[in-house]
């Protein structure tokens, strides 16, 4: 079985589903001949042709609107935005129409679309190429927000997103696009949405994270294991709607929880998780919940970004606080 990177797994999922479902149309800027700025759409144009693999004019607001219209009119658009920081012009279409059309028309029209974008810092890119603002979308009723953290989950979750009848914001950790290879069978099997994945079973502390910081979170779990501490590691994967029961059950077992995310502290989804634990799991806690997050600052340019992104040292310090 071929081992592949996360971005190659995205490509494999797109290939699989375009073959299986003739209503899928992939579109975005430079996604045709160029194969996308990260090469996620390489080979699609050659295989499926220009009707279904559409390079668009350079207008993100327009891409959002096209996706909404195409979805309502019987197609399943999968729109690529080159970076999460360039999705904002399309917020009007995503929030005001994609998320609301089913409710507005009491189910007569709906928007089965997928919006894909790389997110997160650590790739030494210019300003606006390093955003982790998933909370903006997770706040919106009617949307799903999904973030994979491995090639296999990228494949399975993207298939699920493309098969979902509602709009899905699918954010891909740019820092992990080519980080590690994994065997990803091209079996067309989707993974469940709206479910956390328990990556490690443990009894001493629950580590909750998603996306690119799963890498550091798992490294910390390894270090803890070497020191005789069994961490339970949860990849949240679907940020909207949140699978709180899985997290609460884990914390009920371990009594300790550290939430790790790249997005800024205030208004981050870690706050929702922490609040849910306080509301529903307080009596099982042995220590206050800790959050390790990006700072409440603008993501710095390349030279300082390593100071912004939570690293193993910061995560370990938080674990030590809850274990103390």
């Amino acid at each position: 079985m071929t081992e592949m990177t996360l971005v190659e797994a995205i490509n494999q999922a797109l290939m699989y589903e375009m073959q299986a479902d003739a209503s899928i149309v992939v579109m975005g800027e430079d996604i045709g001949k160029n194969g996308g700025v990260f090469r996620a759409t390489v080979g699609l144009l050659e295989r499926f042709g220009i009707e279904r693999v559409r390079d668009t004019p350079l207008s993100e607001n327009m891409i959002g609107g096209l996706a909404v219209g195409m979805a309502m009119a019987g197609l399943k658009p999968v729109a690529e935005f080159q970076f999460m920081g360039f999705m904002y012009p399309a917020m009007n279409q995503i929030i005001n129409h994609a998320a609301r059309m089913r409710n507005r028309t009491r189910g007569k029209l709906h928007c089965p679309l997928v919006i894909r974008a790389p997110y997160g810092c650590g790739i030494h890119a210019p300003e606006h190429h390093s955003e982790s603002t998933e909370s903006l979308f997770a706040h919106i009723p009617g949307l799903r927000v999904v973030i994979p953290s491995t090639p296999a989950r990228a494949y399975g979750l993207l298939l699920a997103a493309m098969r979902d009848p509602d709009p899905v914001i699918f954010l891909e950790p740019a820092r992990l696009y080519r980080w590690a290879k994994q065997a990803v069978p091209d079996d067309g099997v989707a993974l469940p949405l709206d479910k956390c994945f328990i990556l490690r079973q443990g009894t001493d502390v629950t580590l909750v994270s998603w996306g690119s910081l799963m890498r550091e979170t798992l490294a910390v779990a390894d270090t803890l294991a070497a020191n005789g501490i069994a961490a339970e590691v949860i990849d949240v994967a679907t940020l909207k709607p949140l699978d709180l029961p899985t997290i609460l059950a884990s914390v009920a077992k371990t009594g300790r929880c550290v939430i790790i995310h790249e997005a800024p502290f205030s208004g981050g989804i870690g706050a929702d998780i922490s609040a849910a634990i306080a509301e529903q799991g307080l009596l099982s806690l042995q220590a206050p919940v800790q959050r390790v997050t990006g700072y409440d600052t603008i993501v710095p340019y390349a030279k300082l970004e390593k100071y912004y992104l939570p690293d193993e040292t910061r995560i370990m310090a938080a674990v030590e606080r809850v274990m103390a």
Binding site: V25, E51, R52, T56, P57, S59, N61, M62, G64, G65, L66, A67, V68, G69, M70, A71, M72, A73, G74, L75, P77, N92, Q93, N96, H97, M101, R102, N103, R104, T105, R106, G107, K108, L109, H110, P141, G142, D164, P165, D166, D194, P241, L242, D243, L244, P245
Partner: protein, 360 residues
């Protein structure tokens, strides 16, 4: 230096302010039965509009945007649309929707604050209202793209007001319609006002139609008080969309003979006397004068048409006022195809509160 491109914007008017037909008028000008149907539809539109404003003033309807003085634009479009065409409205298009199959009671239900007023929505015929200004132009381009890909040969008609032409959406939608040769007709209802901002403060462009030049699509101005010109030019544009898969932008010139909505007071910004002066051009009287001069519209016929319009409107009002409110849980029922498990607690809470409220 040399001139590399030249452009012209045609203006179409077939029945002028004195109800005199133009020499180049289309066959419609002589089709009495068709013209009487257009007249009837404009009368129904104005009757419903007067009633809707009265309902709002008496607390029986929510904020409502009047269509007064703009009947020719909406009725002309509605008449030109065929059942096979797709209509994507902004929010003032009452008459067009009615002619394209939407019950008047649904229209009142929507403005009365009930999502079920959008139940007419149908991917093959009418899309729901769009409130964020200009945003419908972009998804209309998406609908046209999907229909082109699916080879349905359907034409898409989308509308906006003059204010919406200041949004990037207007240009972005025309731009992609030009490049992708979309079967899409844009109609700008230039009623001279975007709430309090006059047309002259919206753009320095001589016409709004000319904005289509930048996108490489056909563009023209039409007298929006002349229902014959509106009907004829929209019909031509729709036919071009169906046959040639090309886009057109039509700027309809008319005048908003009302406040922006019932929540607005144009007295704060509209110069006194302008509305009355513009009324000399209004569309219903213009067509009526023509038909009377032709000897095909008698006073007794006008009475019958007026009475029939009142009946249509009263029936719709009765149906609207009799509608019982939707279940409160409806706000959850159509949020997703299947309500995610994460919503279970909120749903249960609303259901419980609702049952307490009903049981007193």
């Amino acid at each position: 230096m040399k001139i590399v491109a030249n452009y012209e914007i045609p203006f179409y008017q077939y029945l002028d302010e004195q109800s005199i037909p133009a020499a180049d008028a289309p066959a419609l000008m002589q089709d009495t039965n068709h013209l009487i149907r257009l007249y009837q539809q404009m009368v129904i539109s104005r009757t419903l509009d007067n009633k809707a404003v009265a309902l709002q003033r008496t607390g029986k309807l929510g904020t409502y945007p009047s269509t007064r003085g703009q009947e020719a634009v909406f009725v002309g479009m509605g008449d030109a649309l065929t059942d096979a065409d797709i209509f994507i409205p902004y929010y003032r298009d009452t008459a067009t929707l009615m002619q394209h199959g939407v019950p008047a009671a649904d229209i009142l239900l929507f403005w009365g604050g009930d999502e079920r007023g959008n139940l007419f929505a149908d991917a093959d015929k009418n899309y729901p209202y769009s409130v964020p200004i200009g945003s419908q132009l972009l998804y209309a381009a998406g609908v046209a793209t999907a229909n082109k890909i699916r080879k349905t040969n359907k034409a898409v008609l989308v509308t906006c007001g003059d204010g919406a032409t200041s949004q990037g959406d207007f240009y972005e939608a025309m731009n992609v319609a030009g490049i992708w040769q979309l079967p899409l007709v844009f109609v700008v209802n230039n009623n001279q006002w975007a709430i309090s901002i006059p047309r002259t403060a919206q753009s320095a462009a001589q016409t709004l139609a000319q904005k289509g030049i930048a996108a490489g699509i056909a563009c023209e101005q039409v007298d929006g008080n002349d229902v014959i010109a509106v009907q004829a030019r929209v019909a031509v544009a729709l036919q071009k969309a169906r046959d040639n898969q090309t886009a057109t932008v039509l700027e309809m010139l008319c005048y908003r003979q009302a406040d922006h909505t019932t929540a607005d007071d144009a007295g704060r910004y509209e110069t006194a006397g302008v509305r009355e002066k513009e009324w000399q051009k209004e569309p219903v009287g213009r067509l009526q004068n023509y038909l009377e001069k032709q000897g095909v519209l008698m006073p007794e016929t006008i009475s019958v048409i007026n009475a029939a319009a009142v009946t249509v409107v009263e029936e719709a009002v009765t149906e609207y006022l009799a509608a019982t409110p939707d279940q409160p849980t409806a706000m959850f029922d159509h949020l997703y195809a299947k309500l995610p498990a994460a919503y279970a607690a909120q749903y249960a809470e609303l259901k419980m509160i609702n049952s307490f409220a009903r049981n007193g």
